[in-house]
Subunit: 150 residues, 2 copies
DNA sequence: CTTTCTGCAAAAGCTTTGCAGGGTG
DNA sequence: CACCCTGCAAAGCTTTTGCAGAAAG
């Protein structure tokens, strides 16, 4: 069974209706090889389906994030978020301070159980997010590196 | 020497002018016992200095962040940021999914050197941010816990 | 005196919402 | 056929910017 169908099925189970727009939005997320912002995703979709509104994209991304099907990644300092399908294992992101692209790090150095011991009773840990900032291979090679981590 | 003076001195060294507004903004940051948003900080300031503009607060927070005097914390999902003085050691934050308040965790489980080895040459790590999400002591005790980590 | 900073106002994003019509189950 | 979803348009928020005057060094 395809990933698309898996996701559709999950939505159906939770009582969501399956509309053409939803299919297209999920397909586009599956297809893209970068993590898009809501606007980028919408632009991509509009190349073939110009009738789909940006608000529909936002509404559905919100829905998918709530269902745990999509992850929302905060870029450092930037006020826009990028989205990725939450398909694989728990992982983190390497975010380039120069070009802003995010790539995956299939490794998590955070042991929540251990941390919970450190924290004690004052806080109940449910999850965490970790972003690594730096320079990707391409930008590392540039002669004029921009300002360092702010 | 007071913290205020330390910061003022640092600004002076970098060629920034010391204006009454700057003093007040820094004092207010020092005084508040929570991490404020730009708007909250401005409201606090305006109780005693109603003539200071929100845009001035934004401009100065930006300046202080760039100089490494202030840290900017992303709240999960929220589109507003909160600010804290970067006085002590490198540390992270516990962010309550219910009430949204952030508290400090004086411990960092992330070994950047070790991570750099894992990542290899494809990315040069400069820094990282880690936020822990969950419920604070107060909200943990509530009978009706809200939805879990989105 | 020169340069930086402020306050005002307006603009500029990104994201959300009200509403009426249309599609899904 | 009831309810959910879409598209449109407008509004809402946070944050940024242009500009002229004021202040700091």
């Amino acid at each position: 069974m395809s990933l698309l169908n898996d996701i559709i099925e999950k939505l159906r189970t939770k009582g969501c209706k399956i509309t053409p727009q939803r299919r297209i939005i999920i397909q586009s997320l599956l297809k893209l090889d970068k993590f898009p912002t809501a606007l980028e995703l919408c632009n991509d979709i509009r190349q073939t389906n110009p009738e789909i509104g940006l608000d529909t994209v936002y509404r559905n991304l919100g829905l998918l994030v709530n269902m745990g099907i999509v992850n929302q990644i905060n870029l450092h300092g930037k006020d826009t978020k990028v989205f990725e399908l939450a398909l694989g294992e728990h992982h983190h992101h390497l975010i380039c301070l120069n070009c802003g692209t995010a790539s995956c790090l299939d490794y998590c150095p955070v042991d929540e159980k251990e941390l919970q011991k450190t924290v004690g009773l004052r806080f109940e840990i449910i999850g965490h997010s970790l972003e690594l900032y730096g320079y990707c291979q391409k930008c590392k090679a540039l002669t004029s590196l921009p300002q360092r981590l702010k």
